[in-house]
């Protein structure tokens, strides 16, 4: 049963990962197709020429019109100098996808926010809840076991308890506790024993 549950969890995470990948890809494609008005520009950089100082011109214009003659307005020089001036300018057509940027930043910040909330819950709120639920004595005992206030310090206890009961909620808790044990083990080997990744 536990393995089935683990399998489901794994499948879920896989699906979410591939969904994320696909959605980012899809968004990129979609926004490319839409070619938002502000998502293309033709940028001309013109270096100093005679008495004119250098200047940057920026215009929304299609790719075929992206040259000095279309973009540089008003033309700072007259007559025969136009050609010489324009020869020095470099015009580049660029596009971006503002939707991709927006969505990416929002996705990133929401995942970061969720993780931070969960971290705060695990390190600050959960110990207080546990203290309320299981009383003071047990907490002291588990503190002695582990030696410090690491998060998840009571994972062993809960793991032992949750084995006896069996419903969906407990399955989740079981999976969570197993994960906590793994992290605790990783933490020991990285930070305390320094056997990996030092």
């Amino acid at each position: 049963m536990a393995t089935l549950w683990g399998g489901l969890l794994r499948l879920g995470s896989l699906l979410s990962l591939s969904c994320l990948a696909l959605s980012v890809l899809l968004l990129a494609q979609l926004s490319d197709a839409a070619k938002n008005f502000e998502d293309v520009r033709c940028k001309c950089i013109c270096p100093p020429y005679k008495e004119n100082s250098g200047h940057i011109y920026n215009k929304n214009i299609s790719q075929k019109d992206c040259d000095c003659l279309h973009v540089v307005e008003p033309m700072p020089v007259r007559g025969p100098d136009v050609e010489a001036y324009c020869l020095r300018c470099e015009c580049k057509y660029e596009e971006r996808s503002s939707v991709t940027i927006k969505v990416t930043i929002i996705i990133y910040l929401s995942i970061l926010g969720l993780l931070l909330l969960y971290m705060v819950y695990l390190t600050l709120v959960e110990p207080i809840l546990k203290r309320r639920l299981f009383g003071h004595a047990q907490l002291i005992q588990s503190d002695d076991d582990i030696g410090d206030h690491q998060p998840f310090a009571n994972a062993h206890d809960v793991l032992a308890r949750s084995r006896s009961r069996a419903n969906v909620l407990n399955k989740v808790e079981y999976a969570q506790q197993r994960w906590k044990l793994q992290v605790q083990e990783q933490r020991k080997s990285v930070f305390d024993r320094h056997v990996v990744l030092s």
């Binding site: 200047h55 940057i56 927006k102 990416t104 990133y108 044990l181």
Partner: protein, 866 residues
């Protein structure tokens, strides 16, 4: 047939002290008596090897064909545990490859039976390509996310885009018409923190405000990163390449490539890069891609159940990682081949190629930098280079080699300190301190304040007339009427001289900070800071050579190419060569590095300067120490990694390396058919060895096979639970035919199915050179040492690593005369031609000190001495 009933579904018990036991859906296909075909196993040529293996199989199994085919049929049910590995153990490549061939053969034979089986076999055949496609898609998408988010967060330290909060500085001013030629990055939409908080954009007050906000953001990003790593996934810290190298060479680190590691590494990588620490995102991206590969391989039974096949996917994934990190697909494939992979058949090469292609395509379509390129610092040069420039290029190579050697020494010393002293107990504090120092020193210098990728971009860029940075502040000849592309060498202006001073300070700062940064407990790559250091040095050298050529164009070396008004020196090219040289000095890569760098620049004409610089830096670096930074970290952590690049030049024999040593207790062996369950359990409890050779009997001592501790434990425990009549006094039988037993004795326990009947053996006089080669090329886990067919001892991967380490420490004594070994390990036959008496595997005429012990298999947790 009792042995099949041993295994029942639903049995799952965590009895090996491993909280992360293998997932229970792992199948055992390791049939009894599958004989490994060592000739073909190296190339793992599934399709071609089929018939050959099949016949070999039939021949060597002799009479036991029936039982083993039945066994395989009945073992279709997943049997948890047997055939899997514990955490921190090495895999047996040969066994895994055998397993895969067995599975493949089974699917092939069933193919004709029904349409469903046909579909299944097609799915199986395509799963390799599918999994690399998915990996490429995911790593490309994640790289895009990391790029965009890291750019945004880096700029968040300076200010914010009020009109659209999700834009970074450049995107904020993207459509603005208010930018001027001199100050290209200023636009009204972008507000610095000083403007927002105290309302003034100029003056000392705003400078101090910006300074404070910069430090504040840097510290909070670093703190968030390290606490997320500490709470959720400690394995997400560091660059990850040393561990991936070790994993690819056949080591198990459970959870290292898991989904939490993936998520936390992705999230914290952005934070770490944004915090302005002297680190890059390239190495961690390889780790991220490998996590994707590992996670997706769980969708396909072909890869999820077989550790060796999984490593093929990981090789491809690491190529995809470099492909998106540098925008260099071919470079990624070569990186995977040269640096990371251990086992790289052609099939994997093509898959890596494909994965790199898919990943680069996805990243390109996301277009994270808005320049239609895969990397920020893409540059294009059109100027040629001249022969005399090879001299400064080689000088840069020497600098790169020296930097590499210095960095490896200093960083390893620092990491050793962290590992062995109390100082390593405060990872969070360390990160905060390093981040604070970096931020405080970096802000005043414009070149260190920049994001490192942007710094590299600026250093790589050539000074055309369009550039306005102080690096390009040359005294201009206003009435020159040349066109844009061909600017002659010009005298440097004040801006260039001040920029050189700032660059020198930035160089010293980067060198020192990178030593202390690499290895702190946040995701931290090494490529970008190394490249930055090389680029700074290269740019300085480039400007120096340029000025030299301008002022002394009559020198004989310059005379031919650098006349007045000619454009002969490109400082940006020097920066690029310097970057390649420094990266080469640190990692000791050659081919893949050159390819990566020329893919960055899109010009093939600079291959020769790059090759010269990289080769020089490798030579200079190798003069100070042969290992690159990744190998050095592998050795520091004591991972069991047999480097295929090193040569074994000593003359020791297998008998010198094997365990038991002379003063040790005898080899722990099992006998074929006269041990009881209790005997075996006692032996398992008393010893900590990971496997036991099985011999015919105490009298004959001939080798039968090899049984792994993990499999034995699982099999016995399961038999006690599920099988009737198995008690402590039951005989355990590894032989094919059960010996005749007295009538009243309990039923025997047949364990032939878990016996590896084809353990690899060498004789005691095999030179270690060959043994090491066998271990490297076949990826063995252990090897038995025999003499006249009698088991003398065992050599494990760890023994070999210890031996190598020993040889490195002490200069090897002159080759011992051949009879020296003969004396120590006398033949089984005495001088009179009669067999010597034996008792308990020890010949009776040996003294006590010649008792022997079998060394435990690689056991990383105690290996700090390695």
């Amino acid at each position: 047939m009792e042995s099949e009933q041993l295994f029942h579904r639903g049995y799952y018990r965590n009895s090996y002290n491993s909280i992360t036991s293998a997932s229970s859906d792992e199948e055992l296909l390791d049939g009894a008596g599958v004989i490994m075909d060592f000739q073909t196993s190296e190339d793992d040529n599934l399709l071609d090897g089929d018939t050959a293996v099949g016949t070999h199989y039939t021949m060597t199994n002799g009479g036991s064909i029936n039982s083993s085919t039945h066994l395989l049929d009945l073992l279709d049910e997943p049997i948890p545990g047997v055939g899997t590995y514990d955490d921190f153990h090495t895999i047996d490549w040969v066994r895994e490859k055998c397993k895969d061939r067995e599975r493949h053969r089974r699917i092939n034979s069933k193919k004709k039976e029904s349409a469903w089986e046909m579909t299944k076999s097609l799915y199986d055949a395509w799963s390799g390509w599918l999994v690399v496609t998915l990996t490429g898609l995911a790593s490309g998408a994640l790289a895009g996310l990391i790029d965009i988010a890291a750019d945004w967060m880096t700029d968040l330290k300076e200010g914010i885009c009020l009109s659209a909060l999700w834009y970074n500085h450049e995107q904020c001013c993207w459509g603005s018409n208010e930018t001027t030629f001199e100050e290209r990055d200023k636009c009204p939409q972008w507000k610095t923190w000083a403007e927002l908080i105290i309302g003034q954009a100029e003056g000392p007050g705003s400078y101090i405000m910006n300074y404070i906000m910069y430090i504040f953001w840097a510290l909070s990003f670093a703190f968030l990163a390290v606490s997320l790593v500490k709470v959720f996934a400690p394995y997400a810290c560091g660059s990850g390449i040393p561990e991936i190298k070790t994993i690819l060479s056949g080591f198990i680190i459970r959870g290292y490539l898991g989904k939490w590691t993936l998520m936390i590494k992705t999230i914290t990588l952005v934070l770490a890069v944004a915090s302005g620490l002297s680190l890059g995102k390239e190495g961690p991206l390889v780790h991220v891609a490998c996590c994707c590969g590992n996670i997706f391989s769980y969708l396909f039974p072909k890869y999820s159940t077989n550790e060796a096949k999984k490593r093929e996917v990981l090789s491809a994934a690491s190529a995809a990682g470099v492909s998106v990190a540098f925008g260099a697909p071919i470079g990624g494939v070569l990186f995977s081949l040269e640096e990371v992979s251990y086992y790289f058949p052609l099939k994997t090469l093509w898959r890596s190629f494909f994965a790199a292609l898919v990943a680069a395509f996805v990243l390109r379509s996301i277009n994270p930098f808005g320049n239609s390129r895969l990397v920020l610092f893409y540059v294009e040069y059109h100027t040629p280079w001249y022969l005399f420039e090879l001299f400064p290029f080689i000088l840069l190579g020497v600098f790169g080699g020296l930097w590499g050697a210095f960095f490896i020494r200093a960083n390893i010393a620092w990491c050793r300190r962290r590992k062995s002293t109390k100082f390593g107990k405060y990872p969070v504090l360390e990160v905060i301190i390093v981040a604070a120092i970096t931020a405080v020193i970096a802000f005043p210098n414009p070149y260190t304040r920049l994001n490192t990728s942007e710094l590299i971009k600026e250093l790589f860029t050539d000074c055309g007339p369009l550039e306005s940075s102080s690096l390009c502040d040359y005294r201009n000849d206003m009435n020159a009427s040349k066109i844009v592309d061909d600017i002659p060498d010009r005298p440097a202006g004040i801006g260039v001289y001040s920029a050189i001073w700032q660059l020198c300070l930035a160089l010293i700062f980067k060198i020192i900070m990178t030593v202390f940064t690499f290895g702190i407990k946040v995701p931290s790559g090494l490529f970008i800071p190394s490249m930055a250091i090389g680029a700074i040095a290269g740019r300085i050298v480039g400007i120096a050579v340029e000025q030299l050529a301008y002022y002394h164009h009559d020198w004989f070396i310059f005379k031919e190419w650098c006349e007045v008004g000619a454009d002969c020196i490109t400082p940006g090219l020097y920066a690029m060569v310097g970057a390649a040289a420094c990266l080469g000095g640190v990692t000791r890569m050659t081919v893949s590095l050159v390819v990566i760098v020329f893919e960055l620049t899109g010009g093939l004409e600079y291959i020769v300067p790059l090759m010269a610089a990289v080769m020089t830096s490798k030579w200079v670096g190798d003069a100070f120490g042969r290992e690159g930074i990744y190998e050095a970290h592998i050795r520091l952590n004591g991972y069991p990694f047999l480097d295929a690049k090193e040569e074994f030049t000593h003359t020791t024999l297998a008998a010198d390396v094997m365990r038991p040593r002379r003063n040790d207790p005898p080899l722990a062996v099992l006998t074929q058919d006269n041990m009881t369950v209790d005997d075996i359990e006692n032996m398992i409890n008393e010893t900590s060895y990971n496997g036991f050779p099985v011999i015919m009997s105490k009298e004959s001592q001939r080798l039968v096979g090899f049984a792994l501790r993990r499999d034995l434990t699982i099999a016995i425990e399961s038999a006690r639970k599920k099988q009737e009549g198995i008690v402590g006094s039951s005989r355990v039988c590894f032989a094919q035919h059960t010996p005749s037993l007295p009538a009243e004795s309990p039923r025997p326990l047949k364990l032939r199915s878990i016996l590896d009947m084809s353990p690899f053996t060498v004789t005691d006089h095999t030179p270690m050179e060959i043994v090491v080669d066998i271990f490297r090329k076949l990826g063995l886990r252990q090897c038995l040492v025999t003499h006249n067919g009698i088991v003398l001892g065992i050599i494990t991967k760890k023994n070999i690593l210890e031996h190598l380490e020993q040889l490195k420490q002490h200069v090897e004594p002159l080759a011992p005369p051949w009879h020296y070994n003969k004396k120590r390990y006398p033949p089984a036959y005495g001088p009179d031609g009669k067999p010597r008496p034996r008792f308990n595997n020890v010949q009776l005429n040996l003294t006590d000190e010649e008792r022997e012990e079998m060394e435990e298999e690689v056991y990383l947790l105690n290996s700090t001495t390695l």
